[in-house]
Symmetry: C2
Subunit: 307 residues, 2 copies
């Protein structure tokens, strides 16, 4: 049994590697929902969909999110109205949000929606939203304004400096069904190479998650999303720097040292190993850039073998 | 100045005729919203959209609703999930519902949404929702079950007998901005050839509308949607019969006699003229089947000339 803490693209790719070396049904992925957003009345769960579409083999390989071969009729038509089109929703992807929204309206919790969507795509990895309760990542910009995560991430293209991140609703949220059980039952917990602040951070903020990891710290292995001082994808490097951390795998180690036993870092960062081990984590060096499915499988193997 | 009471396809076609013989900006169309429905979290206003798309010249000419040349990627994808696809929403049409829903969420009343959508399509007829407040047509089936209008009309394909129609929320609803003013200021009021029970009925149920018509009854002209005992489109004939009315233009006259001065009936029904005049309405016979834009313009002219 394997449990994984997952954000979006990086996590999805590692999980797509993991299912090549382990029974998908033995894997539980606990996915960030702090990025969720209501757009046009539709409930959008970007990280859950990225993981689902990637495991189903239907993700757009260029962007890493959305569906391959997508059409954009609705977005083009929305432009006519001057509607909000900064968050691009493809026509077939829209169906996922429509189905999710209808199920939520009908009283089903998000976790049931996720299971239904995964089943429709033939995904047998257990996908668990970190919580069925609404938790929303909020970003304070250097200007002092606080905005919703997607406003920062997509609308502003994460191009503005930030001063603070918080997870609205996290303190009152309960872990999603099966989340704590998966963390307790797993032989290994893998913290995927996702943004430590805004992808893994919200999951850790759900009451009970961090302590569940701390209890079994020796068998928690994290993969650094920072390689050679830069995020493989997204603004993790800048966010770390703006929040007062060194933008390197060392900061990842520091942020995770209380609950992870091992950190996998890229070969490019091999020289950082002593500094990482100084934080108390074991350090394993491996190729972490998932250029293809084989590389992803190798990284998954390296992470699990590190334990 | 002309005011029109409008349902869906029949009304839209008559209005598309009217704009050929009168300044579109001098026409106010008061449109039924009792058919509105929330689907997948999206606010859908079928009659308003049918009127808008038709006046914009972009309506699907075969069905009379939706957009011509539409694609159906979202609906096809929704089928994968076993989602609700009985109410077909095309990809570009979805943008209208997304835009509407977002504006409503942002606190704008429906009337402002309607104006924005009409402007985007270059429609200069004043489109006025009958109310900004939610009014929902509810249908009691012969089985005793009460369902939402679209459940009866689309999901059940109006193929089951009914015993009752009511307009939930109508008593508490206020007329939409400009509705009563348009009815008072117009030189002529045209009741379009829409279903008397479920298209015109909800508009009449808005407090103040019926009395505004009664006050100016002599210059209110209605066009019968029933021709030779059958509805030109939809279940109006069966609904009339099931609710205890004769399925003919005579029933339309009876239903409208308190507030309309004139009824335009089809040439096929010329023999009904004496029975219609017995209800107190003047009766005008004209070709009422709008086979093309010219026929629609002729009918609009006949209706206005009848006053």
């Amino acid at each position: 049994m394997i449990a994984a803490l997952a954000g979006g693209v990086g996590a999805a790719r590692l999980l797509a590697g993991m299912v090549q070396i382990a029974d998908p049904a033995s894997i539980s992925a606990i996915v960030n929902t702090g990025d969720d957003i209501e757009l046009h009345g539709l409930h959008v769960s970007p990280d859950l969909d990225t993981v689902t579409y990637t495991l189903a083999g239907v993700v757009d390989p260029t962007t890493g999110w959305g569906l391959a071969g997508e059409s954009w009729q609705a977005m083009d038509a929305l432009d006519r109205y001057g509607g909000q089109t900064w968050f691009r929703l493809g026509d077939r992807d829209l169906a996922t949000h429509m189905f999710r929204t209808q199920m939520l309206r009908d009283g089903h919790p998000l976790s049931e929606v996720v299971t239904a969507v995964a089943q429709a795509w033939g995904v047998t990895v257990h996908l668990l939203p970190m919580s069925d309760d609404p938790v929303r990542t909020r970003i304070t910009l250097a200007s002092g304004e606080e905005v919703a995560f997607q406003d920062y991430f997509v609308r502003l293209r994460h191009s503005v400096p930030i001063t603070k991140v918080r997870f609205d609703g996290a303190e009152q949220a309960e872990p999603g069904p099966g989340v704590l059980a998966a963390l307790d039952a797993a032989d290994a917990v893998v913290v995927c190479p996702s943004n430590p602040v805004v992808s893994i951070g919200p999951i850790l903020a759900i009451p009970g998650v961090r302590i569940a990891l701390e209890r079994r710290k020796a068998t928690v292995v994290a993969v650094s999303p920072i390689v050679a001082g830069a995020a493989v994808k997204g603004p993790a490097d800048r966010m770390l720097a703006e929040l007062g951390h060194e933008p390197s795998a060392v900061s990842v180690a520091e942020l995770y040292s209380s609950f992870a036993g091992t950190l996998v870092i890229d070969e490019a960062d091999a020289a950082l190993a002593p500094r990482i081990e100084a934080t108390g984590l074991r350090c394993v060096v491996a190729p972490t850039i998932m250029v293809d499915r084989e590389a992803a499988a190798h990284l998954a193997r390296a992470a699990l073998d590190a334990l």
